[in-house]
Symmetry: C3
Subunit: 307 residues, 3 copies
């Protein structure tokens, strides 16, 4: 697979996803053998206009696992050139002479697309703007389901929490909709439900879905519970009662309702969504997600740098 | 060539410049072959007391292209030791036990010289103070002219914009003055013209120069137009009219007056000095400058680390 | 030697210290041969919740000297996840999927211990909280005495300056107390003397010690003078006269009283504790300490990563 840029989830067709997961599987074997120096002459530039130490660390770890090198700034917005009024396009052209791939976290919606249009080297979108894309996160979530359940076709996924604002859930719903016989349950208080654009997309592609507010009812039949945070301050802002949040809390009681093969996922960081007592349950997959993130990002870096 | 420290442009004699450019040419061939790991056991410390992400990235990229490793801080001024009142000299002695070369961006004029006096490892000056030196920038500019025009002897260069304050232009004028039959045109509003010390230096070394305010008039006869920014706020401060700036704007009309072999250069970032429509013209050399910067810095690092 | 985590000085028994110093000696030979790439597939994560550029640089230098790679943040407290309320434990579990060893500087007393309890990869404590541990500093101090004097048994050490607050001196006194026939002189103004808990420990372990305020008197009989800073503002706060500080100042006059084989040590940064004229004396060991720090940290990293 040769990808030029990784800008948005939508660019990945089903065959591309299958191939990407196969490369990620190979990367796991590479790590098990102690790693590689195959990309030792390659440089990745981490260009973060917004803080996201975790995403940055995950991508830089992936580059290091490939043997590569990393130029890094978490404060691209304080670039003297940016302060001086330089356009994103000029900055990208300059960095193109310093590195072999740019990982870009930009504060503007569409920033990654603008960068890709002028860049002489591959761009990997590490998040652009509120409500923008964060494709590597969506891909690692999908890969975690694939590895944990064994397939994505026919998988039943409960998406829980703040489904309105989180780009994670929106992107995942989008990607899951590409697979056959998938069933999606959107479980959230009314003012945090999934937006109509995603539902329209699912309807158009004949994906089965259901809007629910009762988590316990659907638990026995799902393969995956994907939990996300509802910020307490948003709850009150949107006129919901604070107690509502407890309905979405995942603890040992909830685990008893969940099939033994199921996965409990979360994009992290968690606050009170999942009890620490769940951590030792074999179904807890949220820390595995971070490990799979390195594998998927290794696969993406290898794909854009030449595999 | 064995250099101990890179402190100021003046330290480079004509034969040293010729050899440096020859090493930079070799570095281009090294990159074309996919890079080297020759310096994989060497560590460069980026010690930046002031922000300059671009200069830092360029030097770190050069070190990585040589196979080396990089310790990096953009906030050397928040070193607990510096806050506690440690002298620059002590800091340099300490870092000398952590690295093999120090790239220093200091806020005080003469900081690099002070560092070099006590350092057990090579110092590369990445800019010291307002009006101080930034020798690697001057060298990459000169190298870009050398590569683009084929020679520096007899070259005709128009230096345009804020010639009073920019150390880039001052250092470049200084270096160009070392070569035979060079002609320099200083094109700027009166309150932004080149300072007398540079003119005295050029007179003393029999370098032909001319002060001009009309860019269009000299364009047909030059090999290089080197444009720099005049900050609008400085214009008004110095009693010039804002419209003045448009006389120095480089666009397609200006390009038509320029010989086909000429170069349009700029230290970047640009704001409104050069129209984006110029970017695709083969004479646009400002992004090539950033690429040449990596080559020159590879050559300098190799020279101080042992070539 | 296989260590799991480096959390506190107390975990090192006498045989472990002997073995650690032997590994550090080997590391010196590795550096003399030009370094190693033995750990090129290993990643160290520098997770600093507080600034400490010098400690960070020293540890990162050690990892690079081993051939390894480094993920680095000096602002772990601005991790979006930490801001969002993530526990240290969750952060450590996540980073455990990105790296092979975590160097942790935490602001809370006991932070390193908490991290070690949940971490899937080794933790090296690079300082936790005011009055907490900083074991790698204590170990490098001890190693400097061992290398400089040839042995630690029977060594006579004057600890000078602010002995109340500095964790450096407290940890060093603790470690020295493990060796036979050591003599410790605590030389400080009354309100900066060593605390009773250390004296109790020394008494319990039959370590000879003496509290003194007169530095000159004991100088002729010591092997090591370990100087630390007394902040002038603390002096006045605690009702001491500012002139007091001059009694602890180490200059050429003081040097004349010191045996020719002795060491002058200081954890750095220094302000006015040691005259710059002392720097060229062969007994000045404070810059050697920073070099020994890299060796000891290489030995510790190799020990936790598998030697």
């Amino acid at each position: 697979m040769k990808i030029r840029h990784v800008v948005e989830s939508q660019q990945f067709t089903l065959p591309m996803l299958v191939e990407l997961f196969s490369i990620a599987d190979q990367m796991e074997r590479v790590l098990a053998r102690g790693g590689t120096q195959d990309y030792q002459n390659k440089i990745m530039a981490s260009l973060f206009y917004e803080h996201s130490t975790r995403t940055r660390f995950s991508l830089e770890s992936a580059m290091y696992r490939l043997g590569g090198k990393v130029l890094s700034t978490e404060r691209a917005n304080t670039f003297s050139s940016v302060v001086a009024g330089e356009t994103l396009e000029d900055t990208i052209r300059v960095i193109g002479n310093y590195a072999d791939v740019i990982v870009l976290r930009h504060n503007d919606l569409g920033g990654a697309q603008r960068a890709a249009q002028v860049s002489s080297i591959p761009i990997i979108n590490a998040g652009d703007g509120k409500g923008g894309q964060h494709p590597t996160q969506a891909l690692l979530d999908l890969y975690t389901i694939y590895k944990g359940i064994g397939t994505i076709e026919g998988v039943k996924v409960a998406l829980v929490g703040n489904l309105t604002d989180g780009r994670t859930v929106r992107s995942l719903a989008y990607l899951l909709g590409k697979f056959e016989r998938v069933k999606l349950y959107f479980i959230a208080p009314k003012s945090f439900q999934i937006k109509q654009d995603i539902l329209d997309y699912l309807t158009k592609h004949n994906v089965w879905f259901e809007l629910q507010s009762d988590l316990k009812k659907i638990l026995p039949e799902v393969d995956v519970v994907y939990s996300t945070r509802i910020e307490p301050e948003l709850l009150t802002q949107r006129g919901e009662r604070l107690e509502t949040i407890s309905q979405y809390f995942i603890d040992d009681t909830i685990l008893k309702l969940l099939p033994p093969h199921a996965l409990v996922m979360h994009p992290l960081p968690r606050l009170h969504e999942i009890s620490p007592t769940v951590d030792t349950d074999p179904r807890a997959a949220y820390f595995k997600q971070t490990r799979n993130g390195v594998l998927i990002r290794m696969a993406l870096l290898a794909s854009v740098l030449g595999y």
